[in-house]
Each structure stands twice: as structure tokens, then as C-alpha cells.
């Protein structure tokens, strides 16, 4: 058996790579798949705290690559969700402790035993980025509806193709932090604008919502703790990764205020 390795990347920092890795992974596991979340952000480890698994780390990615232990020994099993595991990054300063070939071999190994390897990529396009993309079959590019984020995403598309050997049809984008109130006022790029500019297919659309911060505070993936629109967006995304044909929600913003405004003709 060989699973699929997907890198979650963006170019620009702070746009939601770690959040997406955690929740997409959890949603895929809840759907019955075995999933390894691989934190490739060496020196800035964060997937562990987002998942609430920070107190259970014994070995990390660098230990595995250096042969201190097998990757199986370093995996942290999530006790809340069957089939979900984390391979934490190292908190060392030397970001170049790992070579691309080592990373590639490791991802190949994990793929032998698991359905999915989700690789949380560091921001930027340096060595850490190259290490994160080298073993990936597919890429999810996270973009927020902002000029700088879309621009960086376009750079990353080019690099995934050239340096990662990931063909365009294996690249997908996720639009994160969309605010329908601003989209309606035409003060924010909408999904079709970004699709026009980047020309890659959309895998998911996630609203901007405070529940993301609340869930990070608790160290609990949103798909576990909530049934709101953000959780639904991640379940839908997982469904699409599994090849299901899930339609996009036309109006992700169904808040009471906007419903009232619509009623009084103050919003579309």
C-alpha cells in the first residue's frame, strides 16, 4: 500500500498552514483514514501546540533523520481521534539539519504504512520550504484574500512546479479567512477573483472566525470541538481530498445580523 503525501504551503507566513494541516488531518482521520501530520517547520515548531500534543513529545523529526530512533517511535498518537499521529519538528536553531534526500526517504517510508502524510511547510521559499515539498505528491496552497498573500502564492506555484516536480493539476488552493461581509461590499477579493489570478483549482474556503483562535487556545482541532462553518469547511475539504464531489457553500456567512440586514435590504 502507498498513501499520499500532501504539503501544505503558502509562501507568506501566518496565513493558516498549521491550522489547515491540523484540521484537515483530523477530518481525514475522522473519516476513517490513517494520517501522519509531519511538522516540517524546524525551529518554529507549532503543530504540536495547535493539536494540544506538546506535552507528549519525546523524539522529533531531526532525531528520526539522524537515526536516533525510528519514525514509528517518534510518532505521537492522538488519543482523541483514531488513526491520527503527529511527527513533531525539532526546536533547534540549525534549520538545515535535514537534507532534502533524507526528507524524501522519510516521507516515502511513512507513505508505505499510512493513508496520508500531511506536511506542514514553513513560511518562505528557502531550504525549509524545499525540504517540505520534496517528498510531496500534491500541494495545498493556502492563500488569504490579500494582495501580498496572492502574490506569494503565485511564486510558490512556480516553485512547486520547478523545484518540487509537482504538476499543476496536483496543486490545489484553500482560501482562508474570507469575510463575506467585506466580499459583499467589494472590499475583499472573492474566491473567483483569486481563482482567476492563480489559475489553480479550489479545494476549500474557510471563513475568518474567532473559533479558530479559541480552538488553538484549548489545543483542540475545530473539527473535534465545534460544528460551526469553519469545522464544516474542513470536513468538506477532507471529502474533496478523498475524491468526493462536494459543492461549495454559496453563502458561508449565515449570521443572524447579515440575515436581518438582507431582510431589510441593507445587504445582498
Amino acid at each position: 500500500m502507498s498513501g499520499k503525501a500532501i504539503v501544505i504551503t503558502s509562501g507568506k507566513g501566518g496565513v493558516g498552514k498549521t491550522t489547515t494541516t491540523a484540521n484537515l488531518g483530523a477530518a481525514l482521520a475522522l473519516a476513517g483514514n490513517t494520517v501522519v501530520l509531519l511538522d516540517a517547520d524546524i525551529g518554529l515548531r507549532n503543530l504540536d501546540v495547535v493539536m494540544g500534543l506538546e506535552n507528549r513529545i519525546v523524539y522529533d523529526l531531526v532525531n528520526v533523520v539522524e537515526g536516533v530512533c525510528t519514525y514509528n517511535k517518534a510518532l505521537i498518537k492522538d488519543k482523541r481521534i483514531d488513526g491520527l499521529y503527529l511527527l513533531p519538528a525539532a526546536q533547534i536553531k540549525d534549520k538545515d539539519a535535514i537534507k532534502p534526500e533524507q526528507m524524501k526517504a522519510l516521507v516515502e517510508n511513512i507513505k508505505e504504512e499510512f493513508d496520508f502524510v500531511l506536511i506542514d511547510c514553513p513560511a518562505g521559499i528557502e531550504q525549509g520550504f524545499l525540504n517540505a515539498i520534496i517528498g510531496a505528491d500534491e500541494a495545498i496552497i493556502i492563500v488569504t484574500p490579500e494582495v501580498s498573500s496572492v502574490r506569494d502564492a503565485d511564486r510558490v506555484v512556480g516553485l512547486l512546479d520547478k523545484k518540487g516536480n509537482i504538476p499543476l493539476e496536483n496543486m490545489h488552493m484553500v482560501v482562508n479567512r474570507i469575510r463575506m461581509d467585506m466580499v459583499r461590499k467589494k472590499e475583499m477579493l472573492d474566491v473567483s477573483d483569486i481563482e482567476d489570478l492563480l489559475r489553480i483549482n479550489v479545494l476549500g474556503v474557510i471563513p475568518d472566525d474567532e473559533s479558530v483562535i479559541v480552538s488553538t487556545n484549548k489545543g483542540e482541532p475545530i473539527v473535534l470541538s465545534s460544528k460551526n462553518s469553519v469545522a464544516q469547511a474542513f470536513h468538506d475539504m477532507a471529502g474533496r481530498v478523498l475524491g468526493e464531489d462536494i459543492p461549495f457553500d454559496e453563502k458561508p456567512d449565515r449570521s443572524f445580523v447579515s440575515a436581518v440586514m438582507r431582510f431589510f435590504g441593507l445587504a445582498q
Binding site: 467589494k186 477579493l189 472573492d190
Partner: protein, 89 residues
């Protein structure tokens, strides 16, 4: 007047500006040609062309455009027509 038109043509809001700016930035990024390179290319071309024809330097237009998945450099050089003939001819 302009504001009125903008309000009702659905063009209000900053997202159109964002999209238009991005469209140009991406063209330059993809072709790996900076605005600076274009500027210096422009100066050299003006120099060469001015040896042969007379034109209005204020009316020149150099831009990158995306056509059928390819990026093209488009130059528009309006020749001054009320002057008699081509220089040096």
C-alpha cells in the same frame, strides 16, 4: 459625478484595485522582469529609435501583457506625423 457612477456600476470598493494591481504584479513576477528592467530597456530603445524617427516621448507606452498564457512586451510609439519625413532619410 464620478463617485455617483462608481457607486452604481458596482465598481465601488477596493477589491477591483487589488485585482488589477495583482494582475500586473503577477505578470512581472512570472516573466521575472522587474519594472526597473523595463524602464532601462525603455531608455535604450528610445535612444535607438530616436536615431531614425521622430516621436513624442511623453506618449510612449511600454507594458507587459498576458496573451494566451504567454507574456508579451507591448510597446506603443506614436510617430509624430506633422513632421515631414523620417530623419536622416
Amino acid at each position: 459625478m464620478f463617485g455617483f457612477k462608481k457607486l452604481f456600476s458596482g465598481e465601488a470598493g477596493s477589491k477591483n484595485a487589488a485585482k488589477e494591481r495583482l494582475r500586473l504584479v503577477l505578470i512581472h513576477d512570472r516573466a521575472s522582469v522587474s519594472q526597473e528592467t523595463i524602464e532601462s530597456m525603455k531608455r535604450e530603445l528610445i535612444d535607438v529609435i530616436s536615431h531614425y524617427i521622430e516621436f513624442d516621448t511623453n506618449d510612449l507606452e511600454f507594458k507587459m501583457e498576458s496573451k494566451n498564457e504567454k507574456v508579451a512586451l507591448i510597446a506603443s510609439i506614436p510617430i509624430v506625423s506633422n513632421k515631414k519625413s523620417i530623419k536622416g532619410a
